[in-house]
């Protein structure tokens, strides 16, 4: 069990110093998956045989003294909307229940080099949801309290790390889908600047907002994973052709003179425990030399509607290809082509996906486009400008990730608007394409984790990692305990 408590970096160090073998790490993870997956439901697909084979190869390479990347051989898992060659990629939907991609996503390809992939992780269907309850393969349960949600949409990615079922995972974040589950499950997650991780092979939900990112036990791990998954990719036109830093170098140094903004709007509606923990965390940072001011960004009030219009509009188009013609699910009985479309999409998609498709189709319709989609894009520009202004003075923004700690399974499923409202603190980051991080900063009275969100400038990942690492060096919140 001790092996499972290691961070990815710690496991890598033991592996490369031959204290432990890759096979041992892999077997320990697979055993934990066997023991826990029935109750947590973090995995949709477990690649036991392949993982063990990969582990054997890596052990041989280590024995032969071959040079390898720092995290090579540390078992990981990938959210099931990131394509993996030869391994089915379902997006937690009946629609793609049998889809096996003939290609790897860019990020999956990068990790697969000297990597052990344990399997594919549960999520909200097509990444649409904040609680991981919309999965066709059943809800994911929070390792801290099985009656509670892990947060969504990368619920499996966060729960797997928290429960020791993988050393690190990849998630995707369109409106908070990495940060929210990281917060609810007490792990560290980063949504990178839009364009730093290729979207090639990430099954699109909302193309202008989606971004792949890591979830792990520490900011240090996140930095190492970032080194592996960032970079320019010619297959993604929105991938940025810039010089990518060595993110692990950012871990050195301190937070002295860092300027942090507390945006008042992000604290509206926050539970007392969340409010107190986040403010205590900020105080911890100021105690270490950072400066902090409270400011206001009134445009934040418009972020949620703008987000739901833009993301749903893009989704309505992105998900139109699932029509039963080429791959994935097709209804068995139908009259003609139109009926095939109707029945396939009716039977293949869950309620939340249908709701977003309808919302987006409506927002793009002739006569409504100007009032919804166009206006939302205008709000988007204003939100970006708002952030630009804040970042003229500040290095980062600190806020809660979510107004509450993990809520109960079934608690919000009957009220989509209430569910959407919780995303207030996270969606602006995607709208503006900024990096955003979630790290554990406390527990509520029930012992549930609370997350601190750090928002940076474009390409400000290094600042976020430095602050997060400094915080984690001074505190123990990220050491959790749910995996036991």
């Amino acid at each position: 069990m001790e092996l499972l408590k290691l961070t990815a970096k710690e496991a890598a160090d033991k592996l490369h110093s031959k204290e432990v073998s890759c096979a041992e790490l892999t077997k320990a993870s697979l055993e934990q998956i066997k023991a826990k997956n029935e109750s947590i439901n973090a995995y949709i697909t477990v690649c036991e045989e392949e993982a063990l084979q990969q582990a054997e190869q890596i052990d041989a390479k280590i024995a032969a003294g071959e040079a390898m990347e720092p995290l090579a051989g540390v078992p990981y898992a990938i959210k099931d909307n990131i394509c993996t060659k030869g391994v089915r990629t379902t997006c937690a939907s009946k629609m793609l229940g049998n889809f096996v991609p003939p290609y790897n996503a860019y990020a999956a390809e990068r990790l697969s080099k000297d990597g052990v992939m344990l399997g594919k992780l549960n999520m909200d269907e097509f990444a649409m949801g904040s609680s991981n309850e919309t999965s066709y393969f059943g809800a994911v349960h929070n390792p801290y309290d099985l009656d509670r949600v892990p947060g969504g949409s990368s619920g499996g990615s966060a729960a797997a790390v928290a429960a020791g079922m993988a050393y690190y995972t990849l998630g995707s974040d369109t409106g908070g889908s990495i940060r929210l589950p990281a917060s609810f499950c007490g792990v560290t997650g980063l949504k990178p600047t839009y364009g730093t991780v290729s979207r090639f092979g990430l099954v699109a939900f909302a193309s202008s907002l989606d971004q792949i990112g890591p979830l792990a036990k520490s900011a240090e791990d996140v930095a190492y994973i970032m080194n592996r998954i960032t970079g320019h990719d010619k297959m993604d036109s929105t991938s940025l052709d810039i010089a990518y830093p060595d993110y692990t170098k950012a871990l050195q140094g301190d937070v002295k003179d860092m300027k942090i903004a507390l945006v008042r709007e992000y604290f509206a509606g926050a539970d007392a425990a969340v409010d107190a923990s986040v403010k205590a965390a900020v105080k911890q940072l100021t105690d270490m030399g950072a400066q902090c001011d409270e400011i206001s960004m009134p445009i934040t009030d418009y972020a949620l509607p703008a987000y739901y219009i833009i993301s749903s509009s893009e989704a309505s188009s992105n998900l139109a290809r699932y029509d039963g013609v080429k791959y994935g699910f097709r209804a068995e009985k139908f009259e003609d082509l139109t009926d095939m479309y109707f029945k396939t999409r009716d039977e293949g998609f869950g309620d939340e996906v249908k709701r977003r498709i309808m919302l987006g189709t409506y927002a793009l319709s002739s006569g409504y486009y100007d009032a919804y989609y166009k206006k939302a894009q205008q709000v988007r520009t204003m939100i970006k400008q708002g952030f630009d202004k804040v970042f003229e003075t500040y290095d980062m923004i600190a806020s809660p990730v979510y107004p509450t700690t993990a809520f109960g399974i079934g608690e919000k499923t009957d009220d989509p608007v209430k569910m959407y409202a919780g995303d207030l603190c996270t969606v602006s980051v995607n709208i503006a394409g900024l990096p955003g991080m979630s790290l554990p900063c406390g527990f509520d009275e029930k012992g549930l984790p609370i997350g601190l969100q750090l928002i940076g400038k474009p390409f400000g990942e290094e600042t976020l990692l430095r602050a997060a690492h400094a915080f984690q060096c001074a505190t123990d919140y990220h050491k959790g305990g749910a995996q036991a």
Partner: protein
């Protein structure tokens, strides 16, 4: 009928002849095995992304320059959303409100003179696949080879007034696109397809009538027939006191009629929005200028030059310049020493006839323009007769070698030696006293008969001009 005037606008879709498709690295080639020229990107597999082929932009800008358009220095691509099995993403990446090229024109040669037709816009987009309905008894199958083939859509102003103007417009556009080498414009391979907008109005009226849009027009002939059908249909409607309704119609080429597809009320809402997977297209002014300067001589300029510099008749110049390879063949022959009129006559006459018989294009002619020039020179110098030239040409098509060699091998050299011919003329005159009588009596046929006899005697090699002169000379002596 004559009291109405037609108003016609045409949207022409032309496939660009880039090596690869518009958003992936697949070959852009016609006629591959079904579903072999496709990949995860052009078949819209989950998680794949489009990457714009820069050549497509370059080709479209070329077309824009050739059609006198202004080129947008910042343009974007948009999604046009609709469901159809040949459209794997269920949206077509096209351009909506900011096309690459806009506000151009093309001058078309009509019998009444040149007419300027406005070009509203040119935009780039991807082609869809093809449904195969006959491959299975129960299902339709899809061939994705054509998915992602780059297209430009050239939209005209409603400036055309008859099917004849439409024909000349389409032929002019085709000729220009071939000249600038952006599309091969092969109709039979579906390289060009049209949507045609037609309305009619009483002559003299300024306001447009209600128009119909006709889709699925896959040939120029179909476009002309479709336009004529629409004009007749709308005229009959109005004359019967009815009204034209705004609608989309489908042209059925086999039946020679258009049928209603959907009315304005049922018009599809394509929910266009900016394609988030692609960055805006930026084109520097210098790039446009460079493309503009590198444009080849366009057909109408060439045509005018053939008339003014080479002294060809308008008719010849028009035919020679319509298809760029023809013009190139002609110019190369002239450069190699053929007279312009001589080369023109042979290209427009026997060469074009034989091409038609063999069903090949001038691109595939087995001999060189230099060989044609040599043959023309042999005729013009009197070394061989015109009819011997035809034989040389036929031989050139079969086994191309130096025309001089062919002349030798076939013994086609003309006898122009007066001494030898004199003897033959004498012989013929002596054997045909009656013909001399007839000639003296003013019967013109007689000299033709005697000419024929000399040619027969010379086995067709006698130089007819010389024989003619000698005959007259001899007859006048008698």
């Amino acid at each position: 009928m004559s009291e109405y005037e037609a108003v016609i606008g045409i949207e022409m879709h032309a496939e660009l002849s880039t090596k690869t498709k518009i958003y992936c690295g697949c070959k852009n080639e016609f006629g591959g095995e079904i579903n072999t020229h496709c990949c995860p990107v052009c078949t819209g597999m989950p998680g794949t992304l489009p990457v714009l082929n820069e050549k497509v932009v370059e080709y479209a800008v070329k077309a824009g320059c050739a059609l006198n358009c202004s080129i947008a220095n910042l343009s974007k691509q948009d999604r046009k959303n609709y469901f159809y099995p040949d459209l794997p993403k269920a949206y077509q990446i096209s351009q909506f409100d900011i096309p690459l090229c806009a506000d151009g024109y093309v001058d078309i040669p009509l019998e009444s003179g040149t007419k300027r037709i406005g070009i509203t816009r040119i935009h780039i987009e991807e082609d869809a696949g093809k449904l195969l309905h006959d491959a299975s008894d129960t299902d339709s199958l899809v061939d994705f080879n054509r998915c992602g083939v780059p297209l430009i859509e050239i939209v005209s102003e409603p400036d055309l007034r008859s099917s004849e103007e439409a024909r000349v417009y389409l032929e002019t556009l085709r000729s220009i696109l071939q000249y600038i080498d952006v599309s091969d414009c092969k109709m039979q391979e579906g390289s060009i397809r049209c949507d045609v907008n037609v309305s009619i109005r009483p002559k003299g009226q300024k306001e447009f009538g209600v128009r119909s849009e006709m889709k699925n027009v896959n040939s120029f002939r179909g476009a002309i027939r479709g336009i004529e059908y629409e004009i007749a249909r709308q005229t009959a409607l109005l004359e019967a006191g009815g009204q034209v309704v705004q609608e989309t119609r489908r042209w059925d080429d086999a039946k020679g009629e258009s049928v209603s597809m959907r009315s304005k009320e049922e018009a599809q809402d394509y929910r266009y929005f900016p394609e988030p997977d692609l960055m805006p297209i930026r084109i520097e002014k210098e790039t446009v200028e460079k493309i503009r300067q590198e444009l080849p001589e366009l057909p109408h300029v060439k045509r005018a030059r053939y008339v003014s510099e080479l002294g060809l008749p308008e008719y010849d110049a028009g035919i020679l310049t319509e298809y760029r390879p023809t013009a190139e063949f002609f110019e190369a022959a002239v450069a190699a020493g053929a007279s312009a009129k001589g080369a023109s006559n042979w290209i427009m006459g026997d060469i074009s006839r034989i091409l038609k018989e063999k069903d090949i294009l001038i691109d595939d002619v087995p001999f060189s323009p230099q060989q044609l020039a040599e043959m023309v020179q042999l005729i013009e110098s009197g070394a061989i007769s015109n009819s011997a030239g035809k034989k040389v040409l036929e031989t050139l098509f079969e086994s191309p070698k130096a025309p001089k060699q062919i002349v030798e091998e076939l013994g086609l050299a003309q006898i122009s030696d007066e001494g030898a011919l004199q003897k033959m003329v004498q012989d013929v005159l002596e054997q045909n006293p009656q013909s001399i009588e007839d000639y003296k009596a003013g019967k013109d046929r007689a000299i033709k008969f005697m000419m024929g006899q000399v040619m027969k005697l010379s086995k067709g090699k006698a130089n007819p001009q010389t024989v003619n002169a000698l005959l007259k000379e001899e007859l006048d002596k008698r």
